[in-house]
């Protein structure tokens, strides 16, 4: 019933928007224009990142840029605050590894 894999968030409305493709942990994910990175990732899975201190996965908390719990990494090694960054085509997000320090 509850739990297991699958999305955290549920879309209720505003379904008619152009779609945008991004990658999350190597998997292709389709989002809609106007989605935040947080929305796009959590409509697909249940985590944005792992806590640095070993207490498990995190998926954001405040959605208003206050708690800073939603910072994600891109494959390229850049940082995005997922709740306040709109998706753009071609984004490649990683939620499990931390690509730091990137060399060269």
């Amino acid at each position: 019933m509850m739990g297991g894999a699958g999305p955290l968030l549920q879309r209720l409305d505003e379904l008619v928007r152009p779609s945008v493709t991004l990658a999350v942990d190597g998997q292709v994910v389709t989002a809609l224009e106007g989605d935040t990175v947080l929305t796009a990732v959590l409509l697909h899975g249940a985590a944005l990142r792992q806590s640095e201190f070993g207490d498990g996965p995190r998926a954001g908390f405040c959605l208003m840029g206050a708690c800073q719990d939603c910072w994600v990494w891109t494959e390229q090694g850049t940082r995005l605050r997922a709740c306040s960054t709109p998706v753009t085509a071609g984004l490649r997000i990683v939620t499990r590894e931390v690509p730091w320090p990137r060399l060269g």
Binding site: L8, Q10, L12
Partner: protein, 457 residues
């Protein structure tokens, strides 16, 4: 003489009304907001391309939302609007702003801080499990993204936003498992005399409850949350009901919050004096009736200082702007009756006191949290660690506890653990919460990119 430079931080209802008054007096203020668009929290705008009407987004407040948005639109071209700009440091007449990856230094003659509020939280075991969000987050998911935070949502907390968001979820077609209010039912009856000063809001509140009842959503008063269950995602919530029975609710999401906490970092950095506010159980910048802080040139308005709601924020914004004009020696703005604004604010203040009686901050629940509860989400610091710093290490207040344990030292700078942390620390020392003080703010008020570009003169 060059026109005085006035900055407004925040483009919510308070900032919008403040800017409006300044523009009417012939000034051209800089309006800075981190958000992509104006509106602030309550009148937050949905992204371009979304089609829901104001009535769907803002319900009974649609008219006000339109009015505030309209007022802001009318200012375009007459203000310098800096959206997506973070004010990260304020001191000695200079504001530091990050905009589009560049550092800007803005000197000002006067500044109005209309920075609003965020949810006030208390920790419970499991509140970091994915699927747990703040109440504000639950509302933003709906307003700005047309999403629910889960398939079956449990709402927990206290305060008007608890019922409002639950009702908005019901209306949007989401499944609400239950509303769990930590306030006992009797508290609301005790608060009625104070709250009667704003009957229309009382009626709105009753309508929300009625809508929840009609939708068959169970509402429990006087609960004590025990834990959120689930490893990698929420599976349910266990609480003790008013009769003392343990109950478990099935759900895949929790929206939790206990009213609001003022976003007051910039005022703190500016050096404003704070005082403990018994009503909201938090430290707030001190202002005079019109919003002048203890620091010359720094004014405050809205939920960042009064926590009296959106209508009060609009009035506070007008009063603060009027005070700015007065202090600059400019003629008073037409059409603003300061006396009447102050009277209205005083009435709203009574209502705010009523709300605090009706939906009290559950200090007793926090004091009793188990030692393994994570208090500081950012640094993963437990209640037990915090208590040990209070006892074995003799930390008398939050900054000392922070130095020893790292509580409040993380990315959010104590926004989400500071108030509850003070409660835990004070309880461990057998003192009232205010004795634990407040975590001093530090720049940058939010994380700042090391890659920021600096203009080289």
């Amino acid at each position: 003489m060059a026109a005085p430079r006035v900055i407004v931080v925040g483009a919510g209802p308070a900032g919008t009304r403040a800017a409006e008054v300044l523009v009417a007096a012939g000034l051209r203020p800089v309006v800075i907001d981190e958000a992509a668009d104006n509106g602030g929290q309550i009148y937050r705008r949905q992204p371009a391309g979304f089609r829901r009407r104001a009535e769907e987004l803002y319900g009974t407040e649609a008219g006000r939302a339109r009015a505030v948005h309209g007022a802001f639109s009318a200012l375009r071209g007459r203000i310098e609007h800096w959206p997506q700009s973070l004010a990260w440091q304020l001191r000695d007449g200079t504001l530091q702003v990050e905009r589009g990856g560049r550092a800007h230094r803005l000197d000002f003659d006067r500044i109005i801080l209309a920075t609003g509020a965020t949810d006030r939280l208390l920790p419970i075991p499991g509140w970091t499990v994915p699927g747990t969000f703040s109440l504000g987050a639950a509302q933003i998911a709906l307003k700005a993204q047309a999403c629910a935070i889960g398939r079956r949502v449990i709402f927990l907390g206290s305060g008007p936003l608890l019922y409002l968001v639950a009702a908005q979820y019901v209306k949007a077609g989401a499944q609400v498992a239950a509303v769990l209010d930590t306030a006992p039912a009797a508290a609301r009856r005790a608060a009625l005399p104070l709250m009667a000063v704003r009957p229309s809001l009382l009626i709105k509140g009753a309508a929300l409850l009625w809508r929840l009842k009609r939708a068959g959503v169970p509402v429990h008063h006087g609960v004590a949350p025990l834990r959120i269950e689930g490893d990698s995602r929420v599976s349910g919530l266990v609480f003790r009901d008013a009769a003392g029975r343990e109950q478990r609710l099935e759900g895949d999401a929790v929206g939790m919050g206990w009213h609001l906490r003022a976003e007051s970092q910039l005022a703190d950095l500016a050096g404003c004096t704070f005082a403990f506010d018994e009503v909201s159980r938090q430290w707030l910048p001190r202002i005079d009736a019109d919003g002048r802080s203890s620091v010359d040139g720094v004014y405050l308005a809205g939920d960042g200082v009064r926590l009296a709601g959106a209508d009060a924020a609009e009035l506070g914004g007008k009063l603060a702007a009027r005070a700015v004009l007065q202090d600059l020696g400019l003629p008073p703005p037409a059409g603003i009756d300061a006396e009447q604004l102050r009277r209205s604010l005083a009435r709203m203040e009574r209502f705010r006191q009523g709300l605090a009686v009706a939906f009290p901050w559950p200090g007793d629940i926090i004091a009793k949290l188990s030692d393994d509860t994570l208090v500081c989400r950012c640094e993963a610091i437990t209640a037990g660690t915090l208590r040990r710093s209070a006892t074995a290490l003799e930390a008398p207040e939050m900054n000392r506890a922070k130095a020893f344990t790292r509580v409040g030292m993380g990315r959010c700078q104590g926004r989400f653990c500071g108030i509850a942390g003070a409660e835990i620390l004070a309880a461990a020392r057998g003192e009232p919460m205010q004795a634990a003080g407040r975590i001093r703010s530090a720049a940058p008020v939010k994380p700042l990119a090391v890659a920021i570009e600096v203009e080289t003169p």
